[in-house]
């Protein structure tokens, strides 16, 4: 039933691909679909689906890569935190190679800093309990799928009186970014919405999409989920009836996960946030509420994130909102490669440029 193979069946994939081709022919015009979520970018690339889609259908990657949209100043803040005495810095793996002026977290680790790859804020909290002499700081990065877990860990830390656990708040919210793409981005006909963010949020926050005439489908991550979402989007476009639909019904309900949202709101409150490529979006990030301020590592250790200009020539910002394709950036494949990334679109395995490099024709020739 929940074996991954059921949603990878090649015969059903072929059937969906056929349906998509038929709908594309009926639409008889080029279609641009944005997949917002970094994990979708990778899922599409890994399953080699683009080859199954018709010519006129263009897939654009949006700003849904939390590592990609983290401004370099926040990376520098994390590197600075790693250098503090007695600190064990915990971070998701993806963050380790994001470049900043002061180097990467990986370089800090090579130079002797206690930087640990973490898989869960729960486990980082456990580490803090096991090592009371160290200050465990977690680099908090993620969207609404990840934020409730951090909220739960912080709440648990407070209830248990854990004094050596804190989080650098770098969380961002998806709906404001979507609104910015709709307002400032290119003509995107439809959106493949993030399946797991939507498991938390439900469908209500996406109402602005059909209101702006855009089709929208919440999609899962297996090949059949992605193909189904594209099919559903095309159905909406053919019928001229844009709305928000759920393709990933086995995991997502229209009301989302109310308890997860409640926890987020208990610990955090909306705050303006800077997004690499999009600038500052109002109420698009989260700050610790006063009652939980003790767990804000930026406050506890007086760490600030400097404002940093993007490196000259880097078009990550435009790539993130679908205004430019990776290969249109002058640095792509030259100064900027996964091994030597200039901007996070290349360093994060979910970044558009990294995905293009790894799974596209350019990457194949490397050695």
């Amino acid at each position: 039933m929940f074996s991954p193979d059921a949603f990878r069946d090649p015969e059903l994939a072929a059937r969906l691909a056929g349906k998509i081709r038929g709908l594309g022919a009926r639409l008889a015009r080029p279609v641009a679909i944005m997949e917002v979520c970094g994990t979708h970018t990778v899922a599409i690339a890994r399953s080699g689906l683009e080859g199954l889609l018709p010519e006129g259908l263009r897939l654009i990657s949006g700003p849904g890569c939390p590592v990609c949209v983290t401004p370099p100043g926040e990376i520098e803040r994390a590197v600075a935190a790693a250098g503090l005495p007695g600190v064990a810095l915990a971070s998701f793996g993806d963050m380790l190679r994001v470049p900043a002026r002061t180097g990467t977290l990986e370089m800090a680790r090579s130079a002797g800093a206690d930087v640990r790859v973490a898989y869960s804020p729960r486990e980082a909290l456990e580490s803090a309990r096991r090592e009371p002499a160290r200050q465990v700081i977690f680099v908090g990065v993620g969207f609404e799928t990840t934020i409730p877990g951090f909220a739960a860990a912080v709440r648990e830390a407070r209830a248990a009186g854990v004094k050596n656990f804190s989080v650098l708040p770098g969380f961002r919210l998806v709906p404001p970014a979507l609104a910015a793409v709709v307002a400032a981005g290119p003509a995107v006909d439809g959106f493949i919405l993030p399946g797991h963010v939507s498991a938390i949020l439900g469908t209500a926050p996406y109402a602005m999409l059909p209101e702006a005439g855009r089709a929208a489908v919440v999609a899962g991550f297996e090949p059949l989920d992605l193909l189904l979402a594209i099919e559903m989007l095309l159905e909406q476009l053919v019928a001229g009836r844009p709305r928000v639909e759920i393709g990933y019904t086995r995991a997502v309900r229209a009301e989302g996960n109310p308890e997860a949202r409640r926890l987020m709101q208990e610990v955090f409150e909306p705050a303006d946030a800077r997004w690499r490529g999009l600038g500052t979006l109002p109420a698009s990030g989260l700050a610790f509420r006063r009652e939980f301020g003790d767990f804000d590592a930026a406050r506890r250790f007086a760490l600030a994130a400097p404002e940093v200009q993007a490196p000259a020539g880097c078009r990550c910002g435009e790539v993130l909102i679908g205004r430019a394709a990776p290969r249109e950036c002058p640095l792509f494949g030259r100064e900027c490669t996964p091994e030597d990334p200039v901007g996070p679109c290349m360093v994060s395995s979910e970044g558009s440029c990294a995905a293009r490099w790894k799974y596209g024709p350019e990457g194949a020739a490397r050695r």
């Binding site: 990878r8 994990t39 399953s47 090579s110 799928t145 194949a364």
Partner: protein
Amino acid sequence: MSDPGRIRLAHGAGARLTAELVREVFAGSFGGELLERAEDAAELYLPGTRLAFSTDAHVVRPLVFAGGDIGRLAVCGTANDLAMKGARPRFLSLGFVIAEGFETGLLRRLAESIGRAAAEAGVQVAAGDTKVVERGAADGLFITAAGIGEIPEGRDLAPSSIRPGDALVASGCIAEHGLAVLDAREGLGLGPAFRSDCAPLSPLVEAAFRAGLELRALRDPTRGGLATVCLEFAAASGRKLVLREREVPVRQAVRAASELLGLDPLYVACEGVLLAAVPGAQAQRLVAVLRGQPLGADAAVIGRVAEGPAGVELETAAGGRRRLSWLEGEPLPRIC
């Protein structure tokens, strides 16, 4: 944004950066024709004998993990490199760099493990060296192993022999070793289902030759996993390899753990698996022969060699296609 003054972890990951380091720092200083071939073992010609010679440095952390330890790894890893050249492993030398303060009891247990592994692999430890360095260095213990094996007449394994129409056969389930070591290192608590598959591969190789099969080339996927040896075969032979994702043997637990940790099993280390390129018509027979051996129970045809430019293409489970690319440095676990 690389920092050229320091060696990064990524330089040791066995992929492109390692190749660059060897080329730019080592080969320029002591390289030569044999080193340039970059095979798992070098074939040495001494009049009257064909020898295979190989060396490996073992720096695994932690030193002990489910299913093995650094000692077993040193013996099997080097014996396997020789076996991949069709050689019967005969002699090993072992060099130990030990940090001051290392527990003698642990050293003895590792030595015993080496003894058992050597007996299993049919090799004699013929030479050794020991150095002690100051406390805190060498992660406790490093072992360098060099091995010599005899290549019987008539065995000519080399990636350059690979040609269109050949089949690719994997001898067993992938990604076991890498996960077991990661589990031990990070204290992930994955559980008893995860053990390194570290073992001598000679029995598989000998069985294939005894059956009269015509093997083109063999390689054992270690660092960088199955994907990396396929890319190496493609680069060394100039051929196009096509892998079928569905056919690659992976245990369900390994698949699930890889998903949880954000790793791709195709790039995770193995230590008890070999990849063989064999004429297409002999593929099924090779699989049958391998399955007759304990280590080869899950052997399967996983792909083929096709016409086309050098590289590796993956036919995904859902029927799509994509190119496999080289790992850039250590695989980073993904969460987001």
